[in-house]
């Protein structure tokens, strides 16, 4: 943000000089509204570049987390979109990339959980259909087992095993105590073992 304020308004290179991270949407909106000389096109270009960067770096992680909650491609895509919008609206400043990712996953998780309550209508699970059509029975079996877990266990399992987050990071993302996360992880694993009849082991 400091970079933006120090730059000369009206200069065509203002936005290029801004770090994407430090120059949030609020600053851009401020300059645009205050007639500081930024054109709609340059604001739009900045937003686009920020969005593209998030999509490149974290798009898949957000989409997969959303899918793990909602089991539906359209819903997951909307969560990805809403997370991006929240990011641009809030224009948060982070200490490092880990915090940035944690923030995005936290928002995506919350939006997904809200949607679970709001929307119980869609039953289409494209991933399951794809696995079945490809006759990947073992993967179908695993996916069905993970899907059947309660949300609190499923989200922990996903973040721990897929995203490789530590229990402390999961606690930060889900806003839970670390002991709760550990307990959910253990119980989730136990339940999976029960369902899969110890056919597989998490390692």
């Amino acid at each position: 943000m400091e970079n933006c304020i120090c730059a000369k308004p009206g200069s065509g290179s203002v936005l290029r000089e801004c770090s994407f991270f430090l120059c949030g949407r609020r600053a851009c909106v401020f300059f645009a509204r205050s007639g500081a000389g930024l054109t709609d096109a340059s604001v739009s270009e900045t937003l686009n570049r920020q969005s593209e960067r998030i999509l490149d770096d974290y798009g898949n992680s957000i989409l997969r987390l959303a899918y793990s909650y909602l089991h539906n491609q359209s819903d997951a895509e909307e969560i990805l979109q809403d997370t991006l919008i929240q990011f641009l609206k809030a224009a948060p400043v982070f200490e490092n990339e880990t915090h940035k990712k944690a923030w995005l996953l936290h928002v995506a998780g919350n939006l997904s959980k809200n949607r679970i309550d709001f929307n119980r209508i869609r039953d289409t699970d494209e991933l399951n259909e794809e696995l079945i059509s490809q006759e990947q029975e073992d993967l179908t079996f695993v996916w069905e087992a993970v899907k059947s877990l309660p949300v609190r266990y499923r989200e922990t399992i996903h973040l721990f095993y897929y995203e490789g987050c530590s229990t402390a990071q999961i606690a930060e993302i889900l806003q839970q105590k670390e002991s709760t996360v550990r307990s959910h992880l253990d119980r989730g694993r136990e339940k999976l073992k029960d369902i899969l009849k110890e056919a597989y082991d998490f390692e």
Binding site: S44, N48, L55, E77, Y161, L192, Y200, F202
Partner: protein, 208 residues
């Protein structure tokens, strides 16, 4: 392939496609990004339900308060008795009013012991060993579990010792707790570190 690898493979099938990318970017461009506060209104039924719940709580409090205020008769009496430390096994037996003996077959040599009477109904002896071992022996009238040990143990076994069935609880084949009753008295012995079943058989045989 581990379950974790399978899950990775499953998740690998979900990715941001070019079409999805275009849709998302287009939606972001068209979104209203002004940082206005979002007002979320409670649905009416939730509002009424909340009000009704508050009313029920208030009415209940008033009713209970009225009952308590006008309550007659004698006030509740706390059970008499105290927790008292005794000088030795004889004093403990005298205080609780039933025979109780030291445990002579502990798996370690006790370097210290203490004798406590709980409310004159339960006798407890705590033994400590030189290397941090400890044992807590309890005896009380009745047939309820008197161990006071509410830990979750993965291993639970029952063994027969004479005419009684002893329940052993522990983890990984080592048992920390034994509880049994002869119908008249309830007994429990908790030992740390845990020990195996054969050692427990010797210990309990000594108590019986």
């Amino acid at each position: 392939m581990t379950l974790s690898e399978k899950y990775d493979k499953i998740m690998g099938k979900i990715e941001v496609t070019e079409g999805m990318r275009r849709n998302v970017l287009s939606a972001v461009q068209n979104a209203d990004l002004s940082a206005g506060s979002k007002i979320i209104r409670f649905p009416n039924w939730k509002r009424y339900l909340s009000a009704a719940a508050c009313l029920v709580v208030i009415v209940s409090c008033v009713f209970l308060g009225f009952k308590l205020f006008h309550q007659t008769g004698s006030p509740p009496v706390q059970a008499s008795g105290t927790i008292s430390e005794c000088a030795g096994i004889d004093e403990l037996a005298e205080t609780v009013g039933f025979p109780i003996s030291d445990v002579a077959t502990l798996p370690f040599e006790a370097t210290a012991s203490s004798y406590i009477s709980f409310w004159g109904r339960l006798g407890q002896i705590v033994y400590s060993g030189a290397d941090g071992q400890s044992a807590v022996y309890r005896k009380s009238v009745g047939s309820e579990d008197n161990s006071g040990d509410y830990n979750d143990y993965s291993d639970i076994e029952e063994i027969k010792e004479g005419s009684v069935t002893v329940t052993l609880k522990g983890n990984d084949g080592l048992y920390n707790l034994a509880w049994w009753t002869d119908g008249e008295y309830s007994y429990s012995l908790s030992i740390s570190p845990g020990t195996d079943i054969s050692a427990w058989e010797t210990i309990i045989e000594g108590i019986q």
